[in-house]
């Protein structure tokens, strides 16, 4: 019997299920070396006797065993190849190996069975420390970002990352530790320590957050859940002397300690330009019961449905909404409220420039909703089809939404009426460029409607970049 190589597949791109890598379709990728004798492999019963690992250094054996256990259960050769392939994908996803190759061979040795098979994984571990260095320019600020990553810190796929950004105006850093449960990568635990400074010109506000957070993620059925505790010391200040007095009144220090829970179901084939599937994300945050001087309950959700139509076009509908209820006497803080508007939410309006404002500084609102309807089509005449051109889409959109403050004594009917009053909406068309699988750029021509006094609009061409889109 000949040797069968499950050829090493191209390294997986930076995650994302849309790369059309369906297990079972890979038969064509398996090369059977020329043989004089032809055999039907599928029906041939085999027993996986040994699984070898070459190249393991600091990775612990017990941790690896969970990932490859399934390989032993294979009953025939095709099964062995499929299971080995799955094991290989699982190993790569751990983020501790640079390379994994699988070698399937007949078993040799004294205890070899006639139909015994050995599977060998040839792995190359990532280095103990990897570093990155880059410079960024944006928001009237240049910065230097230094990153250090320690993958597989203790041999069980733990990961420590440190990022330090030194800018002309602000310094930020983040330190995080991540540990998955052996054999169940989706169940993981992480701790983060950070300092982030943000400048928000639409509110003339500057915020410095120093915080610590711990989170546990776990899947239940088809949903993924995250439980998080966050303690963050927030320092708010005015961006300039001319900031409105309402912003000035928010200045100072506060400490938020909150528990939050996020549930998500994502059946989309891609997070940036999906062709099919749906996303539902519900997030709730309760602050104040675990300490600190900020108390509120915050709920928000995100829903997106995608439907493939003829000629490769996709109809996508999304709905966002959220509500913030302050607990106790203290009014909500500007740092906790919602903001709406801009090229990533309601197009045709300037960034976060909808709703309550004071002298041109937007204060955010305690309740909001936003909906969007998009029709994505390939570029006209489809230039660059099958290559670069596939990163682009044209889209036609209709966005609508509202952001306001509610008087919580009034009851749900009045709230709905308030949210239905003064709806801002916009329509237009544009071009979308997908950047990897994490972000997208948009160039749109927008026509804003339902503009209320105080809103800042962006009539005409608007450029947007971001990772979360309505």
């Amino acid at each position: 019997m000949g040797t069968v190589h499950a050829r090493s597949l191209d390294p997986l791109p930076a995650a994302g299920p849309d790369i059309g890598f369906v297990v079972g379709d890979d038969a064509e990728l398996v090369e059977v070396e020329p043989e004089t004798r032809q055999e039907v492999l599928e029906n041939k019963d085999v027993v996986v006797q040994h699984v070898h690992f070459d190249g393991l250094g600091r990775t612990k054996d017990d941790f690896i065993v969970y990932e490859i256990g399934e390989v032993f259960k294979a009953k025939n050769l095709i099964d062995v190849m499929r299971k080995s392939h799955e094991a290989r994908e699982k190993l790569l996803r751990l983020g501790i190996f640079r390379q994994v190759e699988v070698l399937i061979d007949t078993c040799e040795g004294d205890d070899a069975l006639p139909n015994g098979i050995d599977v060998t994984f040839e792995v190359t571990e990532l280095r103990r420390v990897t570093g990155s260095y880059n410079t960024m320019v944006g928001n009237n600020e240049g910065s230097m970002v230094l990153g250090i990553k320690l993958p597989n810190l203790c041999g069980r796929a733990e990961k420590m990352t440190f990022q330090f950004s030194y800018g002309t105006k602000e310094t930020s850093y983040g330190l995080s530790f991540f540990k998955p449960q052996p054999g169940n990568f989706e169940r993981n635990f992480s701790v983060n320590l950070y300092k982030v400074t943000g400048q928000f010109p639409w509110s003339s506000l500057r915020e410095t957050d120093r915080g610590i957070s711990t989170e546990i993620s776990f899947p239940i059925w088809k949903t993924s859940h995250t439980l998080k505790w966050e303690g963050v010391w927030r320092e708010l200040g005015c961006l300039s002397r001319t900031a409105s007095f309402s912003i000035r009144e928010e200045s100072g220090h506060s400490l938020k300690s909150s528990l939050s829970h996020t549930m998500a179901i994502d059946t989309r084939n891609s997070s940036i330009l999906p062709r099919k599937g749906a996303l539902l994300k519900i997030n709730q945050e309760l602050a104040g019961y675990t300490g600190g001087d900020v108390s509120f309950l915050k709920e928000d959700f995100e829903l997106q449905l995608n439907k493939r139509l003829i000629w490769d076009s996709v109809l996508s509908a999304s709905l966002w909404g959220g509500m913030l209820v302050p607990i106790g006497e203290k009014p909500s803080s500007i740092a906790d409220r919602f903001y709406l508007g801009g090229p990533t939410s309601i197009r045709g309006f300037s960034m976060y420039s909808i709703g309550p404002q004071s002298e041109g500084d937007y204060l955010g609102g305690e309740a909001y909703w936003a909906g969007g309807l998009h029709l994505y089509t390939p570029l006209p005449f489809r230039p660059g089809q099958g290559g670069f051109g596939d990163l682009f889409r044209t889209h036609f959109f209709l966005n609508a939404g509202n952001l306001c403050n509610l008087n919580y004594g009034e009851g749900p009917k009045a709230h709905l009426r308030k949210l239905a009053e003064c709806i801002r909406w916009s329509y237009g068309a544009g071009i979308v460029l997908r950047l990897g699988n994490i972000a997208r750029l948009e160039l749109n021509y927008c026509i804003p409607m339902g503009v209320q006094s105080g809103d800042r609009i962006c009539d005409g061409v608007q450029f947007g970049a971001g990772i979360r889109f309505l």
Binding site: L236, T242, E249, G252, G291, D293
Partner: protein, 276 residues
């Protein structure tokens, strides 16, 4: 915003009349405000009262962070925000009110010199006693300064502020001074002020100036605030004419409204005796 634009805005502000809703912001009176902040706040209040400009005193726990310069007090007039006595005097002058217009150049220079003396000696001494004297820091400054904040922010912010003040003391060469030396400096400062005042009702005879407001703010606060020991107050009490000066300003400018705001509120300071 460019300087030109800023200047333009203040020009416009100058043209506007003094609004009814002008407000002075300072930290919470009862449980938060410190000796030095109270002194500065009282000085600005006294100055506004001498100018006969009504101003409502508003207490906010985050007053320090609301202030554009990070120092209290500050006034909010129209849509302008101005902090500390010096800039307030300038701002009020742009609006056409001044207490020192009647003085000649020599007197103006003298007034400025005395104001510098008070700021460099009395204010610095107050800061020193608050933040560098262990007993005062532990018994008074720490609990008061940290009162609006939850744990562990209270410790962090006190530590931050303390570090900032100590760095300042190092920069001006006060870090190695002993408490007695600081009291000695206060005494010298009071002596200089007492000699300058002599038997006059105000530093420049009949009419009060911003110097009078500043001296009143500091001395009155020192006289009416209970610290861990009475030494600071005793230093001031030695000078009879300064005490009379404080009484005079209190009587002329604060007595009528004693029931509502400002100096009347001083009596509510913990264990603070009255001058009456």
């Amino acid at each position: 915003m460019s300087l030109v634009a800023d200047a333009f805005v203040s020009q416009i502000a100058a043209a506007e009349a003094w609004p009814e809703n002008a407000a002075l912001y300072q930290p919470l009176k009862g449980e938060q405000i410190l000796l030095s902040d109270n002194a500065s706040s009282l000085a600005v209040q006294a100055f506004l009262k001498m100018c006969n400009l009504p101003c409502q005193v508003i207490c906010r726990a985050n007053a320090e962070y609301m202030s554009p310069s990070g120092k209290v007090p500050f006034i909010h007039v129209g849509n302008q925000v101005v902090s500390e006595l010096g800039p307030v005097v300038q701002f009020i002058k742009a609006k056409g009110h001044s207490l020192s217009d009647g003085l000649d150049e020599v007197q103006k220079a003298e007034m400025k010199a005395y104001m510098e003396l008070v700021n460099n000696m009395l204010l610095t001494a107050e800061l020193y006693i608050q933040w560098c004297d262990e007993a005062t820091l532990e018994e008074i400054t720490e609990p008061r300064y940290s009162s609006p904040f939850p744990w562990p922010l209270n410790y962090i912010l006190v530590y931050q502020k303390r570090w900032e003040i100590q760095r300042k003391m190092k920069a001006i060469g006060w870090a190695n001074k002993s408490l007695d030396q600081v009291f000695e400096d206060v005494d010298q400062c009071c002596q200089a002020l007492s000699q300058r005042l002599g038997a006059q009702p105000y530093f420049f005879s009949k009419q009060p100036t911003e110097l009078d407001a500043l001296v009143f703010g500091h001395l009155f606060t020192i006289l009416t605030t209970q610290l861990t020991n009475d030494e600071l107050r005793e230093k001031v009490k030695k000078y009879k004419n300064l005490i009379d000066f404080c009484r005079r300003i209190e009587h002329n400018y604060f007595e009528d409204h004693a029931k509502d705001t400002s100096a009347g509120g001083m009596q509510r300071l913990p264990k603070g005796p009255s001058l009456h």
